[in-house]
Point group: C2
Chain length 537, copies 2
């Protein structure tokens, strides 16, 4: 059943004739288009199966021998895939950076696949090439605000590039540090450059023991992927403790100097504009000075926080970002574009040439083919989604979205602070905050109770996630108030414009209900009671 015959006629139909209007796939599509929220509530099962149960649906390890009718497969997709996916559109899914998207991306996604361009080369992308360059130029302008003349000469130049479009922030960060590495070990005298001769020859020529990158402990894991892939080694990823969640410029300078005194070269200092865990912004302006002092590349990872630049009220939180040599921004985060739109912009458009590649049949020298200066080769036309979003939202639209997110985070922080059984751990800089359940009777500085608190918070987060109504994430974090021992905390990202204050109140209530039924809560109560008895006794 559901098996189709493998005939060329059948196959050609799949390429030339859409499914009928009454087919299952057409029904799915209509439901999606009419009411995405309703489609998801209806098809994504709220009571989650365990991963092991879900895996049972994905045990076949051979490509099926016979074809299957599209309609039959549409049912399989609903049953096996959609039902056990994550409802990222839900206003109560506030645990990660993936949020509801505007409706217009649904038809645009279809247009994108209908056009199926390949941006590696103009011959397979035409208008998409200048479109992508324009999008990157707009982000460049958002960060660096250069003159009209600057953009006129660089936006569509075959000789330079203002940045690179990437599948995500990780590739963007790797690209930035790749550029930095190739610039730091540039051709010099008889040395033909690291891109040509390799890293060992480069270090030797310049007389460096090794090269490192410096960021706070809150730096994204992509930085450690970058130092691995670029050949620097993860031990050269220098991270600095930050109980305040922000990198101290003094500590950064001291660490950089100490590293260089040992015969090494600091390749890049990385400032973070919106850490993944708490949303904090490093003191970019001061860090820019440190980078200057250390004569190294200054990269800012603004994958999350970059969109704050749209807001007149809050953009100062990123003060100094325009001093960065390179900046990573993810449009699939606070710019409300579907997953797959990371970008890096370079202050100096020459920088992209540090990684320029050519090939005869493709990416000919002198062409504007995008593949010549990107890490990736073949890529789809995601830039169109960014282009549409920039135009449809406008700067003012983004400003409203950013402002309301930050203000909602402040309102939520206040709710937490006013509640006797919760503790705010990190207040929001942008729209992220962390907190935990801490029953009013608990002494969190007591190490025994602190351990139990961690257990309690792990249990609450897990059970809430499994109940399926709402989702906050959790992490472990060291904070000033409690010293170097990390605590287990809830992490909340208030990016979804559809999340209401009532949703947040409900999430707290649900957490408290769950907490009160845990063994840890009971144990904490017993301990508190015993302590009370002792102190009274």
């Amino acid at each position: 059943m559901g098996k189709a015959t493998a005939s060329l006629e059948h196959l050609f139909r799949v390429f030339t004739k859409p499914e009928g209007k009454d087919s299952k796939l057409a029904q799915i599509e209509e439901h999606l288009s009419d009411n995405l929220s309703d489609f998801l509530s209806q098809h994504v099962v709220t009571k989650a199966k365990s991963l092991e149960e879900i895996e049972q649906n994905f045990q076949d390890y051979k490509v099926p021998e016979s074809p299957e009718f599209v309609t039959k497969h549409a049912e399989v997709l609903l049953e096996k895939v959609v039902s056990h996916s994550v409802n990222t559109y839900a206003p109560t899914f506030i645990g990660h950076m993936t949020s509801a998207l505007p409706y217009f991306h649904l038809p645009l996604a279809k247009l994108l696949v209908g056009l199926n361009q390949n941006l590696v080369k103009i011959e397979t992308s035409k208008a998409f090439t200048p479109l992508e360059r324009q999008v990157i130029g707009m982000l460049h302008e958002l960060v660096y605000s250069q003159s009209e003349d600057f953009y006129k000469s660089h936006l569509h130049s075959a000789k330079q590039s203002l940045g690179a479009f990437c599948s995500g922030g990780t590739v963007a960060n790797i690209t930035a540090l790749w550029v930095a590495r190739n610039k730091a070990l540039a051709p010099n005298g008889k040395f033909r450059g690291v891109a040509q001769q390799g890293l060992a020859a480069g270090l030797k020529h310049y007389g460096y023991e090794s090269m490192g990158i410096l960021s706070s402990k809150r730096g994204h894991y992509s930085l450690s992927k970058a130092v691995d892939v670029l050949g620097l080694g993860r031990e050269q990823m220098l991270t600095i403790d930050c109980l305040t969640q922000r990198l101290s410029p003094e500590k950064a300078l001291a660490a950089g100097r100490e590293f260089e005194q040992r015969g090494n070269k600091l390749l890049a200092l990385v400032g973070i504009a919106g850490t993944t865990e708490t949303g904090h912004v490093d003191p970019l302006d001061e860090l820019a000075d440190v980078a200057k002092e250390l004569n190294c590349h200054f990269h800012v990872d603004a994958a999350w926080g970059g969109a704050t630049l749209f807001s007149q009220r809050y953009k100062d939180k990123l003060k100094g970002i325009q001093k960065a040599d390179s900046v990573t921004l993810d449009a699939h985060k606070q710019m409300y574009v579907p997953m797959g739109a990371g970008m890096v912009v370079f202050k100096n458009p020459e920088d992209s040439n540090a990684v320029r590649h050519h090939a005869q049949y493709i990416l000919r020298a002198g062409s504007k083919d995008l593949g010549a200066t990107t890490l990736e080769g073949s890529r789809n036309g995601m830039a169109m989604m960014v282009y549409a979003s920039f135009n449809i939202f406008g700067r003012q639209g983004y400003e409203l979205l950013i402002d309301q997110s930050i203000e909602k985070a402040h309102a939520f922080a206040q709710l937490i602070e006013e509640h006797e059984d919760f503790e705010l751990i990190t207040a929001p800089t942008l729209s992220l905050l962390t907190y935990r359940v801490k029953p009013s009777f608990v002494d969190a500085h007591c190490s025994k109770q602190s351990e139990l608190l961690d257990k309690l918070n792990v249990a609450v987060q897990k059970q809430q996630r499994e109940a399926g109504k709402s989702f906050v994430s959790r992490t472990r974090l060291a904070v000033e108030k409690y010293g170097l021992n990390p605590l287990t905390v809830f992490r909340v990202v208030l990016a979804n414009p559809l999340t209401t204050e009532q949703d947040l109140i409900n999430i707290l209530q649900e957490q408290l209900q769950i907490a009160k039924l845990t063994k840890s809560w009971k144990e904490l109560e017993d301990q508190a009671l015993a302590q009370l008895k002792r102190s009274v006794g």
Copy 2:
């Protein structure tokens, strides 16, 4: 006009209410769904503007200040973007590897964006994680055909991975060589491994001058990106001339030995299964032996040719591929999935651990989070498109598609050979071939006429592309018959199942018409006439 007011109400509508059924965007969508081919013929202008003209539409370098109505923007998209994109669906677009896609991908693209999962982590992807692992397992089985027990223990193992899903073949190749590098410079005694200590320390510990990669001159440009980004240096990308378009195992062995005699270590030998330029397949079986002899990693870049394994009739062309340590395959090429679906599979599931990364808030140790062993971080659910295609086509469906492509290529080769004014340059191994216009009166071995021939072929390719009815690509290629001097040739990829033999006949006719009107044709005629006179005189 077209400008919307920036109000939260307006913005919320964009997130919660689809465009009306009569809106421009809904019209576009309906047209796309009803008849993609008609939509494209109607909206993609056939007479191409120059890139410089198209760039005029993309001059703004600031994100627009005010929002724009979706309907207004839909018109902009049609006018500025769609009209000047490339019609990759057209049966006469046979110049690159991007082809028509089956219809079901249109609604699936919408579903993908509606779900907007992030595959970096199970918490944001749930069923998509085992789905992606299954898809990779199926490709692993296609290449390596291991036992049921093997797949039972590895398909969903938290400790290993059968491969990595990537945005494309370039990232897949880089990932494979990253793994190879980290394995070759693995922890050893006091040395903590290249991933930890870096490349220079690794080379020093193992006593290597440098490390290189070897492939034929037809290797994809992504290999040279890989040696750059991985720190080996592009001079360590050893390429071997191949007038036969295939890497000679003897030459490979000799070059590898010579490289190692100079104190270097050959990191990897790369065999190509379907070169980008001519579709040739290296002698993989023999190259596997060479790699064994040289004790190096054997990687096969089967981005294009991998799908041939679906065909009982032609899979032997890839004989020996199962001996590779790693294999790259692109589902967005001959598996008819939209752009953005590259994969690498590893023979040994342990290999992925050479690049494993963890982070506290994400990718916890022991979890099955996909981001722990991929170069990329956040990624979308493209694996669903591969999953759907595997099920809907089945192995038999793909076999029919592959067989007819290869047979069409042979039929086209015969058409060319039978035509007195064309010359077949490389016959098809898979569904690629190269040829050129060569008027019957030309002596192509005469260097003066050979230069004119190149000019003629450049002109024909350009003019045909600009005329907009059909598109073949061009490249420069050295072939046995004409020695080391590269010729300009047309390159044809017969991947689109909708391309008919009549289309191919028309393409040749159009090329001949264009050719006869060029200056070069006239000059070639004059030369031939002069020569004739001399010989008669």
